[in-house]
Subunit: 191 residues, 4 copies
């Protein structure tokens, strides 16, 4: 596979081929078994072209994460207006994904543990893009836990954290687990 040659400015074609190869290999074999040589071969690129622009495997994965090449749309938080129901539905989906493809999340965690840049991006991806704390803010007053003045950002972090822990401990989780977790975090409906 040969790419169209470009000049002494950075080749966008090469960059894209590399990121796509990274995402594909990451999905297929996981972070641990992702190799620079494998990416280079798959992308039809010289190894040096990777080393020229990325410092490490982790930086490569971080950029994939940033470009949204690693997550699909299943993991978006739904918005029906009912925070509790939305969160339960979302958590149930997330648990199902972790059960079905534990490697995806675990690989991401391994990458995050190894490279600060992945860690930072991962947190943004999880708390930010799913915008959980935003939804919690909007629902303040509707449950006992969401009382005025509560730090919704920490609640969101705790929720995501619980998910991460379940992934790490390989405990398989179902809809009931999701409900229990949401109830624990949100409290009862406000009177």
């Amino acid at each position: 596979m040969s790419l169209p040659r470009t000049g002494p400015v950075r080749s966008e074609a090469a960059r894209l081929a590399i990121l796509e190869a990274t995402a594909a290999l990451f999905a297929e074999r996981g972070y641990e078994h992702l190799t620079i040589e494998g990416v280079a071969a798959r992308a039809g690129v010289g190894k040096q072209t990777i080393y020229r622009w990325w410092r490490s495997k982790g930086a490569l994965v971080a950029e994939c994460l940033l470009e949204g090449l690693l997550f699909d749309d299943r993991l978006a938080l739904p918005d029906t207006g009912d925070v509790r129901a939305d969160m339960q539905a979302w958590l149930t989906t997330v648990f199902a994904v972790i059960d079905a493809e534990p490697g995806l999340v675990l690989s991401l965690l391994a990458a995050a543990a190894e490279h600060p840049e992945v860690g930072a991006r991962l947190r943004d991806s999880l708390t930010g893009s799913a915008s959980i704390s935003g939804r919690l803010d909007a629902a303040i007053g509707s449950t006992t836990a969401l009382r005025p003045g509560v730090a919704t950002e920490q609640l969101a972090e705790a929720l995501i954290g619980a998910v991460v822990l379940r992934a790490l401990s390989r405990s398989s989780s179902d809809a009931d687990d999701a409900a229990r977790l949401v109830d624990a975090i949100l409290g009862d409906a406000a009177d």
Copy 2:
């Protein structure tokens, strides 16, 4: 007619030397840079002696974890009777450890992401030995979040999860962060 079992038995000295070398190298260089060859050399042991008894680097680390060789005593949850104060104090300490030696926790997370056995043990170590959910159970009724029937185990998980997330995202945290997190999880004092 059974074949006679003869021959020497497993060397306890070798086992201990290996676990100690593993713990030392883990602390010095982190999980990623821990190598079986390095452990063998440090322990003054043949590689085969390691492979005979452990299936992988992860199994080695998991056993160290189980034997308490990786954590020191700083990380025990204090018990003054005041749950909120105890948790804040504990979290503050944990955050300080993460800030001071991020490698320790991150390496453990990397190991957990790679090896199920480490993940399982890690969760036990964190939630079990600190026995957070036990303390929460005992405090039911004392805060708005600790209402009767709440799943304290999920609350404990969420709390630990938040800690893990902060470690992964390398956000440095202080006593205020600890307080905010505890307040978000526990809610207000009960009336």
Copy 3:
């Protein structure tokens, strides 16, 4: 006080496979295009097994030379009793080989220029094993140049040197050239 333990021993099979692969690739592609990776692949051997026992490509080639894997029997000096005729016949053969496969000799020269060990072995192979100076010694008195007291070793060196020069300059040489050279070195028949 413990004696050094012995451990596994060097694999003769690997050693031979490596030398044979080296000789084959040397003959096929020449010294310049001989690569350690190629030798390892051809020999079915890990690269480290080569680096463990040889310091360089040159050392490898030198050992092949020493084991006689690079030269075939065409290049042995015949012995009919007539020194002049033998030398002419031999030179004619050597010139023919150089004309037909210049790469063989040139590669050897390149290797010798790069690695002292090859140079030393090459000289031994050429002057020693062909034992030209021995033949000259035996013929002392039979030609004007082979007078008593003459340094036959230098004469042999000069002869071989002339051959090397012709190889380097790619001048194709025939039987007449061989005769002229032999006559120049040996002088006329003694009266």
Copy 4:
């Protein structure tokens, strides 16, 4: 009517800078470690400018040789009228140079082995410019070996060849060796 094709012409400055950089790097690091990239960097020139005008590293070195950039004047054959003495003196100098800077000659030999053009030029440089065979011709009759009808060109070749062989085999040589070699080639003084 067509305008004369103008356009820039080959830059003499670039050509000289390249040749000088080549000669300098050759002297410093030898033929093996001479790289096109190194030459380009040293000459302040793009790699393509080299590849445009020379086909290979060898061609570059050959042109340096032709321009006399590689040899200094030490290596000229003196002319006192006494052939034997002149040759001994010259050989002694040559041996000393080889002993002191073996890399220079060896690098040249490596280049010659790799590239025909260098080989041809090298032979011309050595036999031609030192014009040994001319001197031998002029001395015909003065020694037993220099009898009428002898092929002085082959004698010259043999002499140079002996020098080349000594360089290749790294045998250090002194004035006595020079004398022995000259005596072997020239024979005794004619009666």
